[in-house]
């Protein structure tokens, strides 16, 4: 359309018959002004478009950067969480090690002190009765001397396994020292404790000697003590210890009670 108009105007302006006509000069001037405006408008549009494009690219840049940062943050959290988890696991391992006896895997003395102390406090607050038992392998020195230290260790592991495998879920078993073991029997009367410890003594007797001859027959002497409200840890342990030595003196391979 405008092309046709352009052509028409160009022809009219070029036609010599209109030279000197007042409208012709006015048209020529108007046409020139129109051309300038059109050019300005075109430039304006082009510049505006470029701004718009730049803005759009910038926006996409932000989105990209945001995506990248989000991804980094996600990884950071994941790695950091894993470090935390590995520390937690290490912590658990260390705690486990600090509570256990290395040779037998039973609880150690330090851990057991805490548990017995807690039971004594429960009893002092009117909790149910509980008992402890100290057990000592009879003539353990003979095993060590006659069968070698390897056999001695094996014997202790066998005792640990026998005790641990036969106590009830609520009982705790610890290696107290050398060839000495301690049982904690929460919510247990003296009668109940005696029945359990007696069965442990029997079990050990049945299990030894090892059929392949690697271990001699073994027996244990036990001293059982019931805790009394107001008793200290030391007093309670001394009672079990006294009973255990009583069992030894009476000929070993038996269970004695602290009177």
């Amino acid at each position: 359309m405008s092309d046709l108009l352009d052509t028409r105007i160009a022809e009219l302006l070029a036609d010599p018959q209109w030279h000197g006509h007042p409208l012709r000069d006015a048209l020529a001037e108007l046409y020139q002004r129109y051309g300038e405006h059109a050019h300005a408008l075109e430039r304006l549009t082009r510049i505006a478009d470029r701004y718009q494009n730049a803005e759009r690219e910038r926006g996409m840049g932000y989105a990209d950067r945001y995506e990248r940062q989000l991804r980094q943050l996600t990884r950071l959290l994941r790695i950091s969480d894993r470090y935390q988890k590995s520390l937690q696991e290490l912590n658990d391992e260390l705690r486990e090690q600090s509570e256990r006896d290395e040779l037998t895997g039973l609880y150690n003395r330090r851990y057991m002190y805490g548990r017995i102390e807690a039971e004594l406090q429960r009893l002092a607050r009117g909790g149910e009765p509980f008992c402890i038992a100290l057990g000592d392998v009879d003539h353990f020195k003979r095993i060590n001397d006659g069968w070698g230290h390897g056999a001695g260790d094996e014997a202790l592991r066998l005792v640990a396994c026998t005790l641990e495998g036969r106590i009830r879920a609520s009982d705790l078993c610890a290696r107290w020292g050398g060839e000495e073991f301690l049982l904690l029997m929460p919510q247990t009367t003296l009668t109940g404790a005696l029945t359990l410890v007696e069965s442990l003594r029997e079990a050990l007797k049945v299990l030894t000697p090892e059929p392949d001859g690697t271990l001699p027959p073994m027996t244990m002497s036990f001293g059982v003590a019931q805790a009394h409200a107001g008793q200290t840890l030391t007093q309670l342990l001394a009672g079990a210890d006294r009973a255990m030595y009583g069992a030894k003196r009476a000929g070993r391979d038996r269970v004695a009670v602290d009177a």
């Binding site: 950071l76 470090y83 590995s86 696991e89």
Partner: protein, 127 residues
């Protein structure tokens, strides 16, 4: 270039640089109280090394525990290393760990995920 030779403490790693060979060593635990301050000289070294030389970048790591800020900083360094590698620089990383502690290897693998430069995770025998 300003070389670094920082001795390890209980909570900060050993940091050692050698601009000529482009080697950067980090070893030990890293949970500094002010991680960004602590690592600022290291970040400056990496930036300068990459901007002002064409030397390779060899990262030799034997890191154990890293707190979150340290993870963040290491990720930044690895990103810069990756960028340099993409631009044609000779970049490599070796992460050594005690064969007793597989956890360290698993974490090193996490870091490796976004890196396309040679990234070796190497078990060492326990002393």
């Amino acid at each position: 270039m300003n070389e670094l030779n920082i001795i390890a403490t209980n909570s900060t790693p050993m940091i050692r640089t050698d601009g000529a060979s482009g080697t950067l060593q980090l070893a030990g635990d890293s949970y500094p109280e002010h991680a960004f301050e602590f690592f600022a000289p290291l970040l400056a070294w990496v930036k300068q090394h990459l901007a002002q030389t064409d030397a390779p970048l060899r990262l030799e790591l034997a890191l154990l525990y890293l707190n979150t800020s340290s993870v963040r900083i290491l990720m930044d360094i690895l990103d810069q290393a990756e960028e340099a590698f993409q631009a044609g620089r000779d970049v490599s990383l070796t992460w050594r760990y005690d064969s007793d502690n597989e956890r360290v290897a698993e974490l090193a693998e996490e870091f490796r995920e976004d890196c396309s430069f040679p990234f070796t995770i190497e078990a060492c025998e326990t002393r």
